[in-house]
Symmetry: C2
Subunit: 346 residues, 2 copies
Amino acid sequence: MAKKVKLSDIAASLGVSKTLVSLVINNKADAHGISKQTQQKVREKVLEMNFQPNVLARGFRTGVTKTIGLIVSDISNLFYSRIARRIEDYAWNQGYSVVICSTEENIEKEEAQIRLLRNRKVDGLIISSSMQDASYFNQLFDAGVPHVLIDRTFPGMKSANVSVDNFGGARLAARHLLSQGFRKIATIGITPEHISTINERIGGFQSELDKQGITIPDEWIIKAPFNNIEEAVKENLNSLHHAGILPDAIFTLNNNLTSLCLKYLGKLSVSVPSQVALVGFDDVLYFDFTRPSVSAVEQPVDLISKRAFDLLLKQIQGTPVPPGEWSVMLPVDLIVRESSVRFMKN
Amino acid sequence: MAKKVKLSDIAASLGVSKTLVSLVINNKADAHGISKQTQQKVREKVLEMNFQPNVLARGFRTGVTKTIGLIVSDISNLFYSRIARRIEDYAWNQGYSVVICSTEENIEKEEAQIRLLRNRKVDGLIISSSMQDASYFNQLFDAGVPHVLIDRTFPGMKSANVSVDNFGGARLAARHLLSQGFRKIATIGITPEHISTINERIGGFQSELDKQGITIPDEWIIKAPFNNIEEAVKENLNSLHHAGILPDAIFTLNNNLTSLCLKYLGKLSVSVPSQVALVGFDDVLYFDFTRPSVSAVEQPVDLISKRAFDLLLKQIQGTPVPPGEWSVMLPVDLIVRESSVRFMKN
DNA sequence: TTGAAAGCGCTAACAC
DNA sequence: GTGTTAGCGCTTTCAA
């Protein structure tokens, strides 16, 4: 490996002090009244010798690493990978790198990841957490660690957070299904039980059904364990089908469940929507051209990412955040496609 | 922020030297003949005081950061996000963190990202590069920077690399299309022109057509610019359709193009496969339940990730790599579904 | 079996 | 306007 040129090399070859060089490359020269001429000299030498500051050494010295951590349950889920892409983009524009971590819904792993990231001195954290409650993050908050919770949130949390209106979105889905005349409706979510988004979606959905005096029977409140989700969806659908107790409509609580549901309904030759209608929470590109196309509640991925990064940056920079912006809830829209429209032939 | 306990705190509170503590926490105590008793004492104190070594300081001192960089064109593309997930998993098991970077097919950005990552002293790099040729990476190789090129490769490269048999996979697709009786065939790729995977796929495809004396006319060799891909696919399809010169079959060169092609063929009410058949390179989950289901060449994502990480780890650790394993080409399979089967009603 | 001390490359008080 | 110096927290010779 070619010998790395360091700050002191520049200083030595110019016969000036390291301080001077440091001030120039950090754009603090003017503030310290370094002459334009000297600055120019330094800049030329930096280019000439192709000096690349050791970011690690700088981070060690200043405590600022220009790195943030992004923690989600699964980076290969389209919802999170799109968020990762946007956050990475905002981060890059501000000179930040992003470290990704997939928790697989494993709380111990998530804690271990946060611990590691803190020991790596990342400047901040953006987290879609798999934890049970706010306590861990309230500690983080009290410790002054800049972070923002996205997607999933907790009652009583002190942390900055940006989420979507899961309750309202689910109500939209329910109202739509009801308006199409569906009454026998099932929901499919995931375990662990405590995931806020899932519960808010079920809650919002149920609340609309309640108005019509409709209750979802227990066997139609399906939960697929995160690490065995495909098998679970498949088997639940199979057994309902064989028992002859398929619902008229299904509300699936994330994009993955929606896909899986469509897939296995297809394998069972159950026609959607004529036999069973389908609406999902979280829209993805391809719901537009599946068979049938799938109705889904669309989440504002770009906005989530933007607000989350902004909120984090403000904490890192110590910019005060107006109280009203500390906890952000973004609206969602329902996109109606074929899968949930009654009496349509596909 | 609560005062971080540091190594010297442990040493002081035990009345021993920092050296001792350092040796113990790095499992080098036995090799240095530190008494079991002392080791035990140190370990207890570490737990008691909840000492978390400052990874940054350690990295600064040793030059080992236990971090790798993953550079791809777009982390939200399912192909790359699945790879990211697997690599992150292997990395985590070995104590490594991974920093992601999306280049957006921008060469300057890619170079800037690599430069930044090197200044951050990452231990190694896994890259699906957007560059034109091997020169940059040969320099990296000569500089002794551990790295492995994945997906896209270059003639004359010295770097370790793992790719798939793009040529062979495309031949599979071509043979299949020919066997179904299709003769008027178009391909849709992306620009920039130099992307190896795209060219190998076109090459393999063309080579099979050549055997039948079939040449793809220029207007059917479509290239969509990366940053305007959706619009380009849409307009190309539109104009072919309006000019009445749609082909019998289309071979799309990545999963995104396949999806887009299916989408806009649908919008034009062009029936797939009865009017135009479709085969794509790179399979994704949902091709199984689109309308129609889509035939595609499946890439071994997990294996790519595994081999890439192994290759990187060996370089980092200085483990010699057998010559035959330095450059890996993995086989691919064609999955035939409805979109490319002739005379099938959908 | 253990400790002292140097130093990784950089920044920031504080001098001059 | 510019330089001196100390030190961030850790690992690692080298000495005892």
